[in-house]
């Protein structure tokens, strides 16, 4: 059952080959036996999952044909789930039981999905390896000595290991695409504003965007169909109507112009990864696409720009954790100042503290113009690079990461080395564009991801290209060896 696509699972449920309760028990059993190897879940909600499955079975018996009805899924532990602990990977929220649902959570609940549990992540989504989680590092199912990527590392590992067919993720600087690449799954970061941020715990609000993670583009489209849409409760939600993201998957690629940024194929790209990416691009070319070299001249500046804007917004967003209303509170505070500073000292991990300090610096009097304002100006130049490129090409393609998954602990002593991992993903968030990572083969047994970047609101086109690639290849169907133990 765990190797079936979501569309196949939905057919099986409707044909009564199995019930949602049986499917859910199967997923829960796999989590119980296999997740000791991966640590991909922070919380497993067996009782809630079985109750939701029973409800889904009742709806199925009544002839309800909602596409995701009865399908198990996992939420990144950044999406608030009413009544179910939502930790954001932090000691600060280890005891936080949200009194409300995120819009994404609510939509998927109403669609009849079965929530298995909440997945591991870098603390407050700040990291590229899942190693900053208060609940310990998650492991890559392809090689448990390697990181699954981050920050949505638990979601990627859970989908790769066939513990859940679908998972949600969030992407502020690559946090859906990079773990999708490292774990050999398909992930989509939608256009900024396409998926509601209400109840998605804030990191950097002008960059944060939720999106689907699954084994194939076809499955991602089904999940995005439910996640996307205007939300009056999110002030930056787009009012633009959504479309049926499954409808255009079969469109032929003839005439498609794919831009290859020279800056994505430079010295920093590991040689074997480069070969895999070229192989995948050749498959698209065989289907009628044209490859065109382009330039995105400000690519390298996306790293410093991101590491001003994201920490600045984080330092503001995370000021809400005060030990008063919810979350961690220190023992026996001497006074109010001690309550604030000690609760935050104890509740936040090292990387979160670093980003708060950098952000506070960038926003402080005397430095605001030199840092935050400057970064916002360069951000516009970065977006303009893409807008210029899209006058010549329909989509942009390249590697998702400079190389395959690195070893656990390999980069923890040097935050800068970790930051440089994100060189191909950050600019997309700064420009607010949609982008995917799609499996493109392996290097020494570790998956490689092809990144596809689209124009604003061109999610359907990206899914179409990814689906056509997956019709011509079987990389997305390959399962890590550990999952079959």
């Amino acid at each position: 059952m765990h190797d079936l696509s979501v569309a196949e699972l939905a057919l099986g449920l409707r044909a009564k080959h199995f019930s949602s309760t049986e499917l859910t028990r199967h997923s829960l059993a796999r989590i119980n036996t296999l997740d000791t190897h991966y640590n991909s879940f922070i919380t497993v909600d067996e009782t809630g999952a079985l109750a939701a499955a029973a409800q889904a079975d009742a709806r199925l018996a009544n002839g309800d044909t909602s596409p995701l009805l009865g399908i198990p899924l996992a939420h990144k532990d950044i999406f608030c789930t009413e009544g179910l602990r939502t930790s954001c990977g932090s000691k600060m929220l280890d005891n936080f039981i949200p009194p409300y649902d995120a819009t994404v959570t609510r939509r998927l609940r109403e669609a009849g999905t079965v929530l298995l549990g909440k997945t591991n992540m870098d603390e407050f989504a700040m990291g590229s390896s899942n190693e900053t989680s208060f609940y310990g590092a998650a492991q890559n199912p392809w090689n448990t000595q390697r990181v699954p990527g981050g920050s949505s590392g638990g979601s990627a590992a859970a989908v790769a290991a066939r513990l859940a067919p679908l998972a949600t993720g969030t992407d502020t600087g690559g946090s859906i695409r990079q773990p999708a690449a490292f774990c050999g799954i398909t992930g989509l970061k939608p256009t900024y504003g396409r998926v509601s941020r209400l109840g998605m715990i804030a990191y950097a609000s002008s960059l944060d965007q939720g999106g689907p993670m699954a084994r194939s583009a076809e499955d991602c489209a089904l999940l995005l169909n439910v996640m996307a849409g205007f939300d009056p409760l999110d002030s930056t939600s787009s009012e633009r109507p959504t479309e049926d993201y499954s409808a255009g998957l079969e469109k032929p690629l003839a005439g498609l112009r794919i831009g290859l940024p020279r800056e994505f194929f430079g010295a920093g790209l590991e040689a074997n990864t480069h070969t895999r990416i070229r192989d995948a691009l050749a498959l698209l070319e065989q289907q009628g696409a044209t490859l065109v070299d382009i330039n995105l001249p400000h690519t390298e500046l996306s790293i410093p720009t991101y590491y001003i804007i994201a920490p600045a917004e984080a330092s503001t967003n995370l000021s809400r954790y005060d030990g008063v209303r919810y979350g961690h509170r220190c023992e026996a505070p001497r006074d109010l100042h001690d309550l604030y500073t000690r609760s935050r000292q104890e509740g936040f991990g090292d990387e979160v503290k670093r980003r708060i300090l950098v952000g506070t610096y960038a926003l402080s009097a005397g430095y605001y113009d030199a840092y935050y304002r400057k970064a916002q100006q360069v951000r516009r130049l970065i977006r303009q690079d893409f807008l210029d490129a899209f006058t010549k090409v329909d989509i942009i393609a390249g590697p998702t990461t400079p190389g395959p998954a690195f070893g656990i602990g390999a980069k923890t002593s040097d935050p800068l080395a970790m930051y440089l991992e994100d060189v191909y993903t950050l600019a997309v968030n700064l420009a607010g564009l949609p982008a995917m990572s799609v499996p493109a083969g392996h290097v020494e047994g570790l998956p490689v991801g092809l990144q596809l970047i689209g124009q604003h609101f061109a999610e359907a086109r990206l899914l179409n290209v990814a689906h056509q690639l997956q019709q011509a290849s079987d990389w997305h169907l390959q399962a890590p060896p550990e999952a079959n133990v």
């Binding site: 009194p99 410093p304 590491y307 503290k353 506070t360 930051y419």
Partner: protein, 95 residues
Amino acid sequence: MTVHEDDIEKLAELARVRIAPEEVAEVTTRIATILGLVDQLQSVNTGAVEPMANPLDAVQRLRADAVTEGNRREAFQAIAPAVENGLYLVPKVIE
């Protein structure tokens, strides 16, 4: 831009994040490295480029000034560390 240990202590105070005295030196080194990275931007000529706060240049959407949410004080205070009679408890502020 060089950053010193007393700068970090001041920043930590502004951000209400305590850094243990034995950690200040290491945190300072790491923050200085990050600031070294972001200082690359100083050499970019941005002239009169308009700063971009929203990638779609969207403006704040406004709604009617009407009460739409009910009172959920009990649900919100049920997850608070310390409450009494509907009030959040904090250490004494005024002597």
